[in-house]
């Protein structure tokens, strides 16, 4: 995908650009707000990654709001050292699609970018989600695997739904916390891991192949092939 990175800090910029290139993406880097705004509005991008505090008089938030005012729906991920809940809310309110605080792991950034792309790709209404022989009925909120019903609590259903919507892609613990539980702070314990292993018990035990996989050091992924 074509990525525009607007970031003035040397180390972060190199870290992000190298990582994205290694993952097979095309990257354009801009180091100040004015040029960033120019490129963001005049060219087509699959995703824009921008820092909030930029030199050159135009900051990250005004770039996002300008893009949105112009009617562009390009997914935007905001990177910032401003970590408070208020700042995050401000970032998202100005039109950002996701907000990641520094310091961050590259795997987290990549997972979030891919989730953003998928979100913008599939907007159509679906009634059921499928992966291998696992079926989620989104209207009745019933789950069955190989024709056998599986009883899930409402929150477990949302967890599974999120995983299946992102099938084949890695999702991180914080992505799950934010999307499934709506918590924008890190409880910093293994609660998510425990939730996942309980879900795994329900959907994978006694079935083959296993669908829910742990991606070490990053997060989880649901996929039919290992």
């Amino acid at each position: 995908m074509r990525c525009l990175v607007i970031e003035d800090e040397e180390d972060t910029a190199r870290y992000v650009c190298n990582g994205l290139r290694e993952a097979g993406h095309t990257v354009t880097l801009v180091r100040d707000g004015v040029n960033g705004l120019h490129l963001a509005t005049n060219e087509h991008w699959d995703v824009i990654i921008l820092d909030r505090m930029l030199p050159g008089g135009v900051d990250g938030l005004s770039i996002v709001s300008t893009i949105r005012t112009l009617g562009k729906t390009t997914p935007v991920l905001i990177l910032s050292a401003l970590a408070s809940l208020d700042e995050r809310v401000r970032g998202l309110r100005n039109g950002g699609d996701d907000y990641l605080t520094k310091p961050f792991a590259f795997s987290e950034l990549l997972a979030r970018l891919e989730a953003l792309l998928r979100r913008s790709a599939m907007q159509e209404d679906v009634r059921e989600l499928l992966i291998a022989d696992l079926r989620l009925d989104l209207r009745t909120r019933r789950v069955e695997r190989a024709g056998k019903p599986i009883a899930l609590q409402p929150r477990e259903f949302r967890l599974l739904e999120y995983l299946v919507r992102n099938k084949g892609q890695v999702v991180t613990r914080t992505m799950l916390l934010e999307s499934v539980w709506d918590y924008y702070f890190d409880p910093q314990t293994n609660v998510i891991d425990v939730q996942i292993s309980r879900l795994r018990q329900k959907i994978d035990r006694g079935f083959s192949p296993p669908l829910l996989h742990t991606v070490r050091g990053i997060g989880y992924k649901i996929s039919a092939d290992d």
Partner: protein
Amino acid sequence: MWRNVAFRLALGYGALAIGSMSLISAVFYVGTVGVLARSIDAKLLSVSDRLARHYESRGGDELGQEIRQLLADGIDQDTEVYLLVAPDGRDIAGNIAGWQKPKAPLDQLTDAKVIRNGRPSLSRLLPRLLPDGSVLVVGRDMQDQREIEQLVWHALLGGGAVALLLAIGGALLFRRQLERRVGAIRRTAHEIGAGDLSRRIPTSGVEDEFARLNSDINHMLDRIEQLMGGVRHVSNAIAHDLRTPLARIRSRLEEALGPGKSSTQLVATAQFTIQQVDDLIQMLEKLLQIAEAESGAQRQSFAPVGLASVMTGAVELYDAAAEADDITLLSDVIGRPITFGDSQLLTNAVMNLIDNALKYAGSGATVRVRATEETDTVSLFVEDDGPGIPQDERSHVIDRFYRLDRSRSRPGNGLGLSIVSAIATLHRGQLNLSDAAPGLIARIVLPRCDPVELTRGETAPVAAPA
């Protein structure tokens, strides 16, 4: 002296007192001496009129006779003045000498110096020109009168001087008194400014404005000292808690640089280092959360929050963890507890309490979470039946970096309860810890938000997480 507020105040007050006294004296003077002088003038006029009528009916000789008789009758002998001067300037009768016919028109009251009965006298005189050209002078010796006036005047002046002295003396005394009280505050402020934060303004037994001011200032100083102590403690603790993992990271990195390391070993070192750094970032994250809560800035985004949904959300996240540790996690709602706050922060607080309860109560325990509504407050309870916290440690566990587990063998950074306490304080509530015998009851008490008031407002959605 003029740069002294107390002195200026007292002196100003003194001046005011003297001013009002002068006014009263003036009224008194006019009311006594003035009235006396006017009554004398009236009497002189009536005597002069009577003698003039006597002259008209009886003639000049009879008038001389009358005057001589008046002078001899023994009445008013000390003060009376009479003189009858013939048209040719010769004195016919009278008891004064040396009177000069004034150039000014006659028939007017004048003060003049004359010789009366052979002695100089200051007299009030009323000369009158009679039809035959002779002049009748009726008067009164004013010596006594003047003496009385002098007396009153001197008394007033003396009194004024004493009053002025009293005012200045009072000002000085007042100044000293005020200086003593203000001086105590200033000295203490100086000492604190010089670095001794433990100084306090000495309090006297008197319950006056200064005593109240002093006690307010002392309270403020207590709070500042406490906060400073907290900051010092936290800096020490951060320094200490940073050193340990940094030392570990350093030694592992140094080891990795040694000869003959396989790539697997290097990868393991990198993974270990990342883990350690992540832990440090988490610790700083929590400190930032506390600082953010303590700053109070988040109050701006407060909205009504239902504690039931806060609790349910947290319990739903932890139910799997409780199940895995064979802990029974129960939740219960009493009433309709609603407070004014931030649901994310309150959830964070409850989650910290549940996390602690699960961690310390251990396998097989029961953890009860309750959201309750009281008269003026609402509460979130997290109660476990684990070992609890010894009474003397309960007040310390809220301190940052304080850990019951001195060896620090369990995971954690000793910030969990500090965050809960900071979030409770941000919501104008507090965190209470008490004994569940056995176990611990952690209770977050918050102000109750009246649902009736909510329904009256335009926008009052009860924020529900999830």
